[in-house]
């Protein structure tokens, strides 16, 4: 079952690779490789920023991590505009830091992904052994051995995944006048109308992604035990850093939204104008999120189990779909539509839902795997003690994993609402999503109308995500 799910996720990517038919002219020239290195450098620095911020956020309790995910649901153009207002030439901090300078641009892009990095690290909670060690032993350089060295591997994995994700993001970097290899993929796909050529441009990045994933697969067998201090002052410090990061990464774009809001009647009218798309997006998110979590659980379970058994699985390779821009995958699904016999299904929401599930399955599987890979003998013993499957789920699995399940659901929900590239090609006529609506508004409508539409999205997303992330994990099972 899990292998079939992985195959579905990999199907469009495979179609894209097969359609490429070679490296194409671009990669036989030095400029292509120079651009790729520049992309990796930019995404790497941005990924490092995201990782450091995410690490601080993962150590906090309460809503900070979910607040840091808000920039993911805001359109990239809106986030970029907010930063340009603050760090542009006319901005209050523009004289010291210009968002159009490379390192600042990388840091700002990284902050948008801080929540994602934090979620990736969330599964790495302190093991009991590590916590005990911190209390019993006075270890020289304990911070290095238990605090840093033990974290290197999961941090490296999270950094690599976020970096690859950022490298495939064409919109926000270009807002800060940084062009990446994804820009050239868009040129090949959108300007030359050459999907095969765009796939060819993606091949080296897929190869790099493959190498990274080989590392992830190898590390899958290892049990990571690392130490987290339980001291009150350290927790307070971590929370303070998390709050500060949230204020910067989320507060600034949100401030931009609120400052641009027009009079209340206009806000209401703008929100009403967005209602059909909001409904479509919510319908899609409600449909897709549980499927993503359920299938992600299936894949992540198989992934961790196979890693312990040292047998192979397709699961980690599904992450390859994250290193290519969405339109390529959408084209793969369009190809699949041509083979599908039921025209009614083709013209409905079916394909969009399927494509979004396939796109987010690796994300859900990864987040859940990071939790499941911590092989706990106590869990196994508890499972053996309970005979009924339902009772085992209710009394062992859910209490053990409820937090990461809620986080996965929240992340998937946010990403479905924010999803743009697949919706653009696969949404049936008359069923546009709110992300498409926002992107069309940004460059044409007055700022106030855009802000009102963004506020409508926030009002929709925040309560759901807050419920998933705050209330659900605290509920006693």
């Amino acid at each position: 079952m899990s292998e079939a799910l992985c195959a579905i996720a990999l199907l469009p990517l495979l179609a894209a690779i097969l359609s490429a038919g070679g490296l194409g002219e671009w990669w036989w020239q030095s400029r292509g490789w120079v651009l790729l290195l520049e992309t990796l450098a930019f995404a790497g620095v941005a990924g490092l920023t995201a990782l450091l911020a995410g690490a601080a956020l993962a150590g906090t309790r309460g809503p900070w991590l979910f607040l840091a995910c808000i920039p993911l649901v805001l359109p990239a153009s809106l986030v970029g505009s907010a930063w340009a207002l603050l760090l542009g030439r006319a901005g209050p901090l523009g004289d010291w830091f210009s968002v159009f300078d490379w390192p600042v641009a990388a840091a700002v892009v990284g902050l948008r992904y801080a929540g994602l990095a934090g979620l990736l690290l969330l599964g790495q909670n302190a093991s009991e052994g590590g916590r005990l060690a911190s209390r019993v032993f006075v270890v020289r350089h304990a911070w290095w051995h238990l605090g840093v060295r033990a974290r290197l591997k999961p941090w490296a994995i999270a950094w690599a995944v976020v970096t690859l994700w950022i490298a495939a993001e064409p919109i926000l970097p270009s807002m800060f006048l940084v062009h990446t290899y994804a820009t050239q993929m868009l040129v090949q796909y959108n300007a030359l109308l050459d999907p095969a050529g765009a796939a060819a441009l993606a091949l080296p990045m897929i190869l790099i992604g493959g190498v990274v994933l080989a590392f992830v697969v190898r590390s899958g067998a290892a049990t990571v035990k690392y130490w987290r201090t339980s001291k009150r002052e350290a927790r307070a410090r971590s929370r303070a850093v998390g709050v500060a990061l949230c204020l910067v990464a989320t507060g600034l774009p949100l401030t931009g939204v609120f400052l641009a809001l027009p009079a209340w009647p206009t806000v209401v009218a703008s929100m009403q104008g967005t209602t059909p798309e909001l409904f479509n997006s919510v319908f899609l998110a409600v449909l897709v999120t549980p499927i993503c979590v359920a299938s992600g659980w299936c894949v992540a379970s198989a992934w961790s189990r196979r890693a312990r058994e040292r047998t192979t699985t397709l699961a980690p390779w599904t992450l390859l779909t994250l290193v290519v821009p969405g339109p390529l995958l959408a084209l793969g699904w369009l190809q699949a539509q041509a083979w599908w016999p039921d025209r009614a299904a083709v013209d409905g929401t079916f394909w969009l839902a399927l494509a979004v599930v396939a796109r987010l399955l690796p994300v859900a599987a990864l987040v859940l795997w990071l939790d499941l890979r911590r092989h706990d003998a106590g869990d196994d013993a508890a499972r053996l003690m309970v005979s009924s499957t339902a009772a085992r789920w209710r009394r062992v699995t859910w209490p053990t994993h409820r937090r990461v399940l809620a986080c996965t659901a929240a992340l998937c929900f946010v990403l479905v609402i924010a999803e743009l590239e697949l919706s653009l090609l696969l949404a049936p006529p008359g069923r546009s999503t709110v992300s498409v609506r926002l992107y069309t508004l940004i460059h044409t409508a007055p700022d106030g109308q855009v802000a009102a539409a963004a506020l409508a999205v926030l009002l929709l997303v925040l309560p759901v995500v807050a419920w998933l992330l705050v209330w659900l994990p605290r509920r006693e099972a």
Binding site: A84, R89, A90, F100, L193, P327, L334, D347, R437, T440
Partner: protein, 341 residues
């Protein structure tokens, strides 16, 4: 537990598929239109068509992220199973490209006669209407109408180093503009201009909207954009104004283009929509909208636009077939020069 999870997954998937599948037995006539014109302008017009004809319009709007070609790619990808009846493009080169691929059907609308021949395809595969012009937008806090340069050579002048901006020229109207400049300047002069442009640290923005925003924020003193982008900023009270670029060959007018898709499932309704879009009523509405589009119909000389002082409406169109044919060469030159890296 695994079995339970898998069972749950199967149930959820089945329910989802049932929820997604839709019947096709609609009684009300429908027309599916792909429109690259910004939604805020297109939506009221499509709603008016619905009210007047009773035909339900199912629109697919383009997004800035995919530029104008997301829809064109979608049409190409679904060439064997089209779901689109009408393409309402906001420029003509990609429509010409679809025509060259045989994906458009000829239709001579009775309302097309009001559009000058230079903005229509001789084979009736597309018809232009309601144009935008390429303009230089400048920051009024930094420049005055007397000091703003109007020559495109100003973009390569050392005096303006790092103070000018253009959109990444691979997409939309900027790509069309580049193709037109190549026709007008000749390949050698145009290539040299591009090289000088980059050497002069011109800011390369991701689109014409960001060009407008960079100028309005004072990041650049002036840049190349479209009249509709500039007009929105002017209405919002931002410190910008426009002048027409003077390259010695007159202004570049880029019309909307409407086409009937080959093997359209609702061709009759599609033709009705095309007739409506080519009517004087629609051009008048687009001229009065925030985008302040320039009517091309010969019967709308009385309609006033903010651009009347800048340009003549009887400006000839450009060689669309040549522009479409040159597209790959233009993009190759842009890449060789180094745009987008």
């Amino acid at each position: 537990m695994r079995r339970t999870t898998e069972l749950l997954l199967c149930v959820l998937t089945a329910v989802s598929f049932l929820g997604c599948a839709e019947g096709t037995g609609e009684e009300r006539p429908v027309v599916v239109v792909y429109t690259a014109l910004d939604r805020v302008y297109a939506e009221p017009i499509l709603q008016r068509f619905e009210q007047e004809t009773g035909i339900e319009v199912l629109p697919v709007y383009d997004a800035e992220a995919a530029k104008t070609t997301g829809l064109v790619n979608r049409i190409i990808a679904r060439r064997d199973n089209p779901d689109c009846d009408v393409l309402w493009n906001n420029e003509v080169v990609q429509s010409q490209h679809l025509a060259d691929l045989g994906l458009l059907a000829p239709y001579e609308s009775p309302n097309a006669a009001r559009i000058p021949a230079g903005f229509r395809d001789p084979q009736h595969l597309w018809t232009g209407f309601a144009a935008r012009a390429r303009v230089i937008i400048y920051n009024t806090n930094q420049l005055t109408p007397d000091s703003v340069p109007t020559s495109l050579d100003a973009f390569t002048n050392e005096q303006w180093r790092g103070q000018t901006t253009i959109a990444l020229p691979y997409f939309g109207t900027t790509l069309t503009h580049m193709a037109v400049l190549r026709q007008r300047f000749g390949d050698d002069r145009w290539t040299a201009w591009l090289q000088d442009l980059l050497a002069n640290d011109t800011l390369v923005a991701p689109g014409n909207g960001p060009v407008r925003d960079l100028v309005a924020a004072g990041e650049a003193a002036f840049g190349l954009t479209d009249t509709d982008d500039a007009h929105g900023a002017i209405l919002d009270g931002k410190p910008v104004a426009v002048v027409l670029p003077n390259d010695g060959h007159g202004p570049v007018l880029i019309p909307n283009a409407v086409s009937l898709i080959a093997n359209a499932p609702n061709a009759d309704a599609g033709k009705q929509l095309i007739d409506f879009l080519l009517s004087a009523e629609v051009e008048r509405a687009l001229a009065a909208s925030r985008s302040a589009q320039i009517p091309l119909g010969t019967d709308l000389a009385d309609v006033v636009t903010p651009w009347d002082a800048l340009l003549q409406r009887d400006t000839p169109g450009f060689d669309t077939e040549q522009a479409a044919a040159d597209k790959e060469a233009v993009i190759e030159t842009l890449r060789r020069v180094g745009f987008g890296r």
